[in-house]
Amino acid sequence: MEGIVLGQYIPGNSFIHRLDPRSKLVISIILLWMVFLLTRPAEFVGFSVFIVFSYFMAGVTGSFLRVLKPGFYLILFTLTVNMVFTPGHSIFSLGPVAVTREGFILGAVIGLKLVFLISVSSLITLTTSPVRMTDGLERLLRPLRRIGVPVSELGMMMNIALRFIPTFWEETDKIKKAQVSRGADFNTWNLSRRVKYATALLVPLFVSAFRKSDELAVSMEARGYSVGMERTSLYELEMHKRDYVTLVVVSVLAAVFLWYRTAV
């Protein structure tokens, strides 16, 4: 329990890495919306080719299976449930349980859509650092300030939360080790002892979290931070030509797809 990989971000310098986080967020929304509209086999093939191509372009193909891993059981569950519970022509049966052709197709379609959803959103998190991601979100949501949403404060909160994950991880590790040195056994099967050990870990962790947030608040105030003021950032996000080109290309693709759907 040492070290932690924060998020999925894999540093790189590919075209997709260099895209502005705002363009990536907008593009991913368009793509996710497209996933829900897919019906014909050719569309599925086309989308798969596009995903594989994007992963190659970003140079993160090695992470493809890893990002799907957490969703594996969900996909398997969807496939099984649909195969069994959809009425239709039976392909084969195991005792009272009959697997239908319609069910198999439906399960495969939903399973594949889940794979698409996970791989599109992971492509963004794989190629965008968490800090740039929150900056991008903050800028995208900026218009909401007109109706009183404290967008930059929310962005600051997200950044602070992300920044402190490794810190608290280290703190947890340290406190855990200190209590283990005093005879605690965090892996015991005895429930009441386990609760006692958890207390010895959680109480100091919360105390430390409160102390750290207090210190951080004071130091932010000392440097002139106040809620609701206009802030500038050291690294301004900048839309480049590649961002506009990519946005246009993806929008045109989506429009063509929609037109084709209504025309055929």
């Binding site: 406190i175 080790k177 005879g183 010895a200 100091p204």
Partner: protein, 281 residues
């Protein structure tokens, strides 16, 4: 040998792109009742070494023997080792969690299965060692105490399990002079009166120069030097590593370079003063 490290190596996050060296081929023998001070620049492996002494980290290569037992041989030996070797982390007051000082100090002995009356004896003894009066402090909440008192409560929490070895990671960091004196005095009593072996990591060697039998200097996960405290301090390599060498040692070094004969290895201001007075005579 009570503590015997042979060829111990350890790498953090081994096999990942962010692997980081902890220790490399460390050989170290510590005798019963010995007091060994440890110095080294940041990231030199001090904390990693300490965590090997009670089995929190398991070496990638090499062995750690305590009382001739390989501490990772079985879960039972590991547990006994944790009781035998008390480990005091940096800022130990951050790990306090109980509502009273009494409950806090009970935690260790209870976990190690002391019986009810043994727990009370152990807690009383530990509080006495660190200079906290039992009747006055036992029902206090740790949050009401001063920083120095909190740290002594935490120290007592480790001592209450009656360890035969005590390993401390910068136990005086961030404390004022009288706080430092109280901690040093508590550990001195353990070592002198009860023969507890002490491993003391420090940035400021002057606080324990007359107590530590030997000084171990770590650098980049390796043993850079080990030997009698004053002799190692006089080694010019220490300053080169960026360690806090006492001013008296620097002055003595300068005097020796000018060909002035010095009688011993002065470390404190008083000692170097005496040397200079002797030279002027």
């Amino acid at each position: 040998m009570p503590i015997e490290l042979t060829n111990v190596s350890y790498t953090y996050l081994k096999g990942t792109p962010v692997a980081r060296l902890g220790l490399r081929d460390v050989d170290l023998h510590i005798g019963d009742g010995e007091w060994i001070a440890v110095m080294g620049p940041t990231g030199s492996g001090k904390s990693t070494l300490l965590q090997h002494l009670n089995g929190l980290l398991k070496p990638d290569a090499g062995t750690v023997l305590i009382d001739n037992f390989n501490i990772h041989a079985s879960a039972k030996i590991l547990r006994e080792t944790r009781q035998k070797v008390g480990l005091v982390f940096q800022y130990p007051e951050h790990q306090l969690f109980s509502s009273t000082v009494w409950k806090e100090i009970c935690y260790g002995p209870e976990n190690f299965g002391f019986s009810g009356s043994d727990v009370e004896t152990a807690v009383k003894k530990a509080m006495e060692t660190v200079g906290l009066e039992f009747t006055r402090y036992k029902d206090c909440s740790p949050t009401e105490l001063s920083g120095g008192e909190k740290r002594r409560v935490a120290l007592a929490g480790v001592l209450a399990a009656n360890p035969r070895f005590i390993v401390l990671d910068e136990p005086t960091a961030g404390m004022d002079y009288s706080g430092i004196q109280r901690i040093v005095e508590a550990v001195r009593r353990l070592n002198r009166d009860r023969g507890v072996t002490v491993v003391w990591v420090t940035h400021d060697i002057t606080e324990v120069v007359d107590l530590a039998d030997r000084l171990l200097v770590l650098n980049s996960g390796r043993v850079e030097a080990v030997g009698a405290t004053r002799e190692i301090l006089a080694d010019p390599r220490l300053a080169a590593l960026g360690l806090d060498v006492p001013i008296a040692v620097t002055v003595a070094d300068g005097l020796r370079k000018k060909g002035k004969p010095l009688a011993g290895y002065p470390v404190t201001i008083d000692e170097i003063k005496q040397e200079i007075v002797n030279l002027l005579r």
